[in-house]
């Protein structure tokens, strides 16, 4: 049994990892996006509606980040060590940002005199978290200095004009997801406000993508050769264009479900494009999934408990929570 399974275990865990990352980006993406949009609207009732729309779910969304971290540690310990070493400072900043943002949900209602402080923490936490995640993707595309399975670069290697561009891109992208979420979950003035922001944010995302693509071509990144070697990957930009068009149509027709769904579709295609470009590398161009995988004894130990039991339960649970909280957030339901 175990011998039979061992052939596909690294594959299984890389799929779980990719799935967890995608779920994290889609879920925490919109709630970080709402945090970013929070900065652009000073209306207190709008702000409470924004908080209320993500309050029941943000914590669960963020937990996927911990699951990503520990899955990586459990199934691909070498990759865990390389990434966290390469992104030492941004990871520390990310954790601080997420902690500040997390307590803001509670503390802003406790202490009205210092509400501005917790609001600032909420906005900064959201913006920093989004920026760092985008910058990390950019740094990965550009390549990480690895030798003998260890990171050998410096603490600021991740910081480059290209990674900053990607970081800003993700801030705008998450804001787009967040605006789609607000349209879906709220009513009245805030919904109109979010509708007004959607086209600007979409234009912003398209602008950043065009700039990033230009930079990729000019920078002569390895990833371009991989695109040319696998032309089927170009199906994803086409799908993404369709999603962008669908988003625009959704805004015009004011179909509340459409912008969020299409923004999510944009992210799925972008993720598939990245994953397809990197596969089978897990640390691009240094370690493949098979090379980086923990020994079979570790992977199968993880498989029988987490893979077969815990993970399916978590997925069902997540779906149930979103089902329970479906529908618009009524303005009266905000606790203050």
């Amino acid at each position: 049994m175990i011998e039979h399974i061992s052939f596909s275990l690294p594959l299984f865990w890389s799929v779980v990892l990719a799935f967890a990352i995608l779920v994290y980006v889609l879920l925490d993406g919109f709630d970080l996006g709402v945090g970013i949009l929070f900065a652009l609207d000073r209306d207190e009732t709008h702000r409470q509606q924004m908080m209320g729309s993500i309050a029941p779910v943000w914590d669960g969304n963020e937990t996927w980040l911990v699951l990503i971290g520990t899955t990586l540690f459990g199934a691909f310990p070498v990759v865990y060590a390389i990434f966290l070493a390469a992104f030492y400072l941004p990871v520390a900043l990310l954790l601080v940002a997420l902690i500040l943002r997390g307590v803001a949900f509670e503390f802003r209602y406790k202490d009205k005199r210092h509400r501005w402080l917790w609001d600032l923490g909420f906005v900064l936490g959201s913006v920093i978290a989004a920026f760092i995640q985008g910058a990390a993707i950019g740094a990965m595309v550009a390549g990480i200095a690895v030798q003998d399975g260890r990171f050998i670069g410096g603490p600021f290697d991740w910081l480059s004009p290209f990674s900053v561009l990607c970081g800003l891109g993700l801030v705008v992208g998450y804001a787009l997801l967040g605006a789609g979420w607000l349209v879906l979950k709220t009513e009245g003035g805030l919904r109109d406000w979010a509708y007004a922001w959607l086209p600007r944010l979409l234009a912003g995302v398209i602008g950043v993508v065009v700039l990033a693509l230009t930079a990729t071509l000019v920078g002569d990144f390895e990833v371009v050769r991989r695109w040319l070697a696998q032309p089927w990957l170009f199906a994803f930009p086409l799908l993404a264009s369709a999603a962008a068009w669908g988003l625009w149509r959704g805004v015009q027709a004011r179909r509340d479900w459409q912008p969020w769904l299409m923004a999510s579709a944009l992210f799925v295609t972008a993720f598939a494009m990245l994953a397809g470009s990197f596969w089978p590398w897990i640390v691009p161009y240094h370690l493949t999934v098979e090379q980086a995988a923990a020994p079979t004894s570790s992977l199968s130990f993880l498989f029988y408990g987490i893979g077969l039991v815990v993970l399916p339960v978590i997925m069902v649970y997540t779906a149930v929570v979103y089902w329970i909280f479906r529908g618009k957030v009524s303005p009266e339901a905000i606790n203050d």
Binding site: G52, A55, P56, V57, D59, G60, T63, V66, L67, G69, T70, T71, F73, G74, A75, P77, Y80, A81, L84, A85, A86, Y88, L89, V91, A92, L93, L95, V96, L98, I99, L100, V103, F105, E106, F107, Y109, K110, R150, F151, I152, G153, G154, P155, A294, P295, S297, S298, F301, L302, G305, I306, V310, L311, I314, Y317, V321, F325, A333, I334, N335
Partner: protein, 504 residues
């Protein structure tokens, strides 16, 4: 301290772990306490247990939230600061910690949500089951953490393949006798921490003549549980010591504080060491008791620190004093709980007066003893493990991330320090306010569900992931009502000592 990435990383890990451990130590015990209260409420039908449950649930929620937030940093630190350890020992440590986070998520996402918002929405048996599941979940969580830590203390069940610790036998790792001595020791430590917090809160209210019914139950149950558990804790502590003597000579001899091998060996109660000269400048010792404590006879030969090569010895002060503080507080708790038992049997807590005030004061003052004992015990275990990260196999100095610079490490340490200081002072203040407020006396009278939860659910109420929101801000009108309801009973002492009584 010399500034090198290893020292800064050790300081950072010690700082974040010390902060973190306070909260799980509390919540593991609180979860069991909540399950007990809910069970009692179910069996006896007394509303008093429900009021206590509702009160301690709020405390649990805040402590749990702070534990989760500080745990976030722990989950990533192995990779950021101890990259070489993660690379080499990841195949064993990674799965253990993955099990921890997945089971913890499962617990938090499902049953904790039921606890916070499910009262009145699920049948009572399902609610009780949820309290048991939360208690089980925190226990599991502790188990995986202790499994990982015990493996670092006494590594078993692995093969070294090209420098990589490869799991050979998971059963051997999970059934390691060392783990099954240390895990109960930790659990009992958590239970005792909570028992003393509960008892001290009861003593506090009794001293201030408030919530008398609840306070007596808290004092009685807290001390009663402690009176039973401390002897068991002493037994596991002793077994722990035996395994330390067997597997970790450097830690063992340092805790003993004995430099030279002796036969029979003295028991050193207190000492001030001269590390360069390998002797104690000053010590208080009892003859032959060292042999007796370790071997059960008065003539056994016991090794000294000098039998361990100088490079393999842990630092002296923290394990030596940490151990003594832990044991000393254990004895204080034993004495308090047994005196409490004796006073209870003599009926001193019955009748109109709260009980002997000297005893209540002492119990109140003992509230942090469990926390300090857990923290010093943990420091003894961890600092005593040095200079090894995986005992006898891999040194701490080899474990650090190769690319890590001192500057980066200092930057993260400063950032964590600042943000922890901010959020934990806010959180602690909030916990203090909750405890000062005490249980609601206008609590549920019927078993159908408390009045406060009967209203249509607001979003914040339904959110399983918002532990800190549970207490929420109490509106001024409600706070006035609470104060009125909890105002001290008019009695001879209140009128003179409690200024609040003028309001009543």
């Amino acid at each position: 301290m010399d500034i090198d990435p290893v020292s800064v990383s050790r300081l950072q890990f010690a700082f974040t772990a010390s902060f973190h451990i306070i909260f799980p130590a509390f919540t593991i015990g609180l979860a069991a306490w909540l399950a007990t209260l809910e069970g009692l409420s179910l069996v006896t039908g007394r509303t008093l247990y429900r009021r206590l449950f509702d009160f301690w649930l709020k405390v649990f929620a805040v402590a749990f939230g702070l534990g989760v937030v500080s745990g976030l940093v722990m989950a990533f630190q192995f990779g950021t600061n101890w990259g070489e350890l993660s690379t080499r020992a990841g195949p064993i440590q990674g799965p253990l910690l993955a099990y921890e986070s997945f089971t913890a998520f499962l617990l938090e996402a499902t049953f904790f949500g039921v606890l916070l918002f499910g009262r009145g929405r699920v049948p009572r048996w399902a609610y009780f089951l949820s309290t048991l599941m939360v208690a089980l979940g925190t226990t599991f969580s502790a188990f995986w953490i202790m499994a990982n830590n015990s493996w670092m203390q006494v590594p078993v069940g692995y093969d070294l393949v090209d420098g990589i610790f490869t799991p050979r036998d998971w059963a051997e790792i999970l059934l390691d006798p060392v783990l099954w001595v240390r895990f109960p020791h930790m659990l009992l430590g958590a239970y005792l921490t909570t028992a003393f917090c509960v008892a001290a809160t009861g003593a506090w209210y009794l001293l201030r003549d408030r919530h008398l019914g609840e306070a007596r139950v808290m004092l009685g149950m807290g001390l009663g549980i402690a009176a039973v558990l401390i002897p068991a804790q002493i037994l596991f502590g002793h077994l722990n010591g035996e395994y330390t003597a067997e597997h970790q000579l450097g830690k063992f001899t340092t805790i003993e504080g004995r430099w030279q091998t002796e036969q029979p060996a003295r028991l050193i109660l207190f000492a001030w060491p001269d590390i360069a000269e390998e002797r104690n400048r000053f010590e208080i010792a009892l003859p032959a008791l060292g042999s007796f404590v370790d071997q059960g006879n008065f003539t056994a030969k016991e090794p000294g620190i000098v039998t361990v090569p100088a490079d393999d010895r842990p630092p002296f002060l923290i394990p030596f004093y940490g151990f003594r503080i832990m044991v000393g507080l254990g004895l204080v708790m034993l004495a308090l709980s047994w005196v409490g038992l004796w006073l209870t049997l003599r009926g001193r807590f019955r009748g109109p007066t709260p009980g002997p005030r000297w005893f209540l004061r002492a119990t109140f003052l003992a509230w942090p003893s469990g926390f300090i004992a857990v923290l010093t015990g943990w420091l003894t275990a961890e600092v005593g493990r040095q200079p090894w990260v995986i005992y006898g196999v891999m040194r701490t100095a080899e474990a650090v991330t190769p690319s890590l610079s001192s500057g980066a490490a200092l930057a993260s340490l400063t950032a964590y320090f600042l943000v922890y200081a901010l959020i934990f002072s806010a959180g602690t203040l909030y916990l203090y306010r909750l405890l000062r407020e005490g249980p609601l006396e206008d609590g549920p009278e019927s078993e159908g569900g408390p009045s406060s939860r009967a209203r249509p659910a607001a979003l914040g109420d339904l959110n399983p992931g918002r532990p800190l929101a549970v207490g929420g801000p109490i509106p001024a009108a409600k706070r006035r009502a609470i104060r009125k309801a909890t105002a001290p009973n008019p009695g001879p002492r209140n009128l003179t000592t409690d200024p609040a009584s003028t309001e009543a």
